[in-house]
């Protein structure tokens, strides 16, 4: 009996904590479907009285929202794709090819993990501007087309793969590129998926980067575009903003729910490393 009460108490605590902590999320979802009269009413309410899709209509007329959504996909998807290819190529060389300077390059790459991107933002911007890449996907994507964390992460994974696998292919006369493409990569799918999700989510959610590299509202991402809703009047159209936020969050929430086990486990292992 006492144990049952204990269990019930524990469960109730967890439920209450979860509901309190998810309140901002609940607010986003419920406000997105609220008519503006209710959003601006006093006293404020939690759930909408009359559910409506007005806010979703409005976000598409107030902002080039479809375009922003597409931009986010091209930007985050492009960075992810390039980074996976370039990082895995470099990681393969560091993990499998014995060349002079291997160790040194690895140390330099690991050391560069300590550089926050905010610290080099201005020279990177100057370079991008010099290339006439401001307001272009090239400017958004190229500086992130490879990254030290990805190289290091994949290198660690490749080193852990049994070497007999690729040596067997080499005996059969396979080229290094074939060994990489046909042997190592297929065995590294879990690591690639983990890194890919991380990269995609980070870039989709990034604010400072698109803020700096795009000045044309048509080139903004969904994250930086939503900040344009706060007009000069200072009045924030919360209903529209929550509808936009909900759409911005949805792809990631779905992606996360599909692969949550892998995602959470990968986070967990970063802490144990």
């Amino acid at each position: 009996m006492r144990r049952l009460v204990g269990r019930g108490l524990l469960f109730t605590t967890a439920i209450v904590a979860t509901l309190v902590l998810l309140l901002p999320l609940i607010i986003i979802v419920l406000t997105a479907f609220k008519p503006s009269a209710e959003v601006n009413a006093y006293p404020p309410t939690l759930a909408p009285h009359a559910w409506t899709l007005d806010n979703f209509h409005r976000i598409f007329s107030d902002l080039p929202f479809a375009r922003l959504f597409l931009n986010s996909f091209v930007f985050a998807g492009g960075v992810t794709l390039f980074a996976l290819v370039f990082d895995s190529l470099a990681a393969y060389a560091l993990a499998r090819l014995d060349f002079r300077g291997n160790r040194l390059l690895l140390i330099v790459i690991v050391a560069s993990l300590m550089i926050p991107f905010q610290a080099t933002l201005i020279p990177v911007y100057q370079l991008v501007a010099h290339l006439h890449w401001v307001n272009s996907f090239a400017g958004l994507i190229a500086p992130r087309a490879a990254d030290a964390f990805g190289i290091f992460f994949l290198r660690q994974f490749f080193v852990s793969l049994p070497r007999d696998l690729d040596n067997a292919a080499r005996i059969d006369g396979a080229s290094e590129l074939r060994v990489f493409w046909n042997i190592v990569l297929p065995n590294a799918v879990p690591a690639l998926l983990t890194l890919g999700i991380f990269t995609f989510v980070n870039n989709w959610n990034d604010l400072l980067w698109p803020l700096v590299f795009t000045t044309d509202p048509k080139m903004a991402t969904i994250t930086s575009g939503l900040t344009m809703l706060t007009g000069p009047s200072g009045i924030i159209p919360y209903g529209t903003m929550m509808a936009g936020s909900l759409i911005a969050v949805l792809p990631l929430a779905l992606l996360f729910l599909f692969v949550q086990r892998r995602f959470i486990e990968s986070v967990a292992t970063t802490g144990l490393k």
Partner: protein, 320 residues
């Protein structure tokens, strides 16, 4: 290149476990390994070289100049760094960032650890579902989190503000309040990231051997004693990692501040990164902005070096 002599010199070396190619298998693909490796490394090296390493050097040079990005660039020596030390406005951004870090790191860690302890309790039903739900805020962008919190805290329309008023807590206009604005942007960051640290703590807690708890229980230790004498000491490595990780994240605070306060009121939430953004991209004082960037870089490096000290032996496994 010297690469050509490498096979001969390396032949008698004992096989290595990490790094290095198929040499240990007794299989020879010696020649051409260097150029081959370069071909594999080239795309990544070009990107990192152009957008990480060169900007590092370029930023240092720029920080000794006065430049607006247009027109001439004049060499001013240490003037920008002197300005950081003497301009109370800029100095304050360091103070704000420090205060932000001091508020953020312990709050995030205590919340994450408490939830991790709750969610590793074997008596709790549906642990996986709770873990998923509580991790969700981490998937959301800081900007969206900031929108939701701005609404919750709005002096007239905000539900949270209203509820608190109902129970007698008058917060007023939180984001315009010099005392409450910084805590408010910290709360948003804590809310967005606690799930991340929670998951790391859960992983750490799962590594604590069950026998230790059983033994302690047999010896008559109560739950609090088991927590403070066994669980927490066993968690020290995870703890150190999370502290450093959270601190570095706090040093880079920007997104929710840009959305919620714009650095105000009266620069009470103007962090270092917010200052880099406004000096570099609004006031176009590139020299000063990069000097501030370098200060941020140095602070981050010091924090990272501490991290490497904590994990010194492990990093040696990896690199050395």
């Amino acid at each position: 290149m010297t690469t050509m002599t490498q096979p001969a010199r390396r032949r008698y070396r004992p096989p290595r476990q990490l790094g290095g190619g198929g040499r240990s298998s007794g299989f020879r693909f010696g020649r051409g390994r260097g150029p081959m490796a370069m071909a594999f490394m080239l795309p990544a090296l070009v990107i990192l070289g152009a957008f990480v390493f060169w900007p590092m050097i370029s930023a240092l040079r720029l920080s000794f100049t006065h430049s607006s990005g247009f027109g001439p660039t004049t060499w001013v020596g240490l003037d920008n760094y002197r300005e950081i030390l003497h301009d109370p406005k800029i100095l304050k951004t360091l103070g704000v960032t420090g205060l932000y870090t001091v508020m953020f790191t312990p709050t995030a860690i205590v919340l994450a650890l408490a939830l991790a302890l709750l969610l590793t309790n074997k008596a709790l039903l549906g642990r996986g579902a709770f873990r998923t739900a509580l991790f969700l805020p981490f998937v959301i962008s800081m900007a969206v989190a900031a929108f939701a919190w701005s609404y919750l805290l709005d002096p007239q329309l905000g539900l949270l503000n209203y509820w608190l008023r109902e129970i007698g807590i008058q917060l007023g206009n939180v984001l315009q309040d010099p005392h409450l604005a910084l805590p408010a942007v910290v709360v948003v960051a804590v809310w967005k990231s606690f799930g991340f640290y929670m998951v790391i703590f859960i992983a750490g807690l799962q590594q604590v051997p069950e026998e230790l708890h059983d033994a302690a229980r047999i010896d008559g230790a109560n739950a609090w004693q088991r927590l403070t004498r066994i669980t927490l000491p066993q968690l020290s490595t995870t703890f150190a990692f999370v502290v450093v990780f959270a601190t570095i994240a706090a040093l880079q605070a920007f997104d929710q501040i840009y959305v919620m306060t714009g650095g105000g009121p009266y620069r009470h939430t103007q962090t270092v990164v917010a200052e880099i953004y406004s000096q570099g991209f609004k006031k176009l004082d590139l020299g000063l902005a990069t000097a501030i960037s370098y200060v941020l870089l140095l602070i981050t490096l010091v924090m990272s070096l501490i991290q490497f000290r904590f994990f010194g032996s492990r990093e040696k496994d990896v690199v050395g």
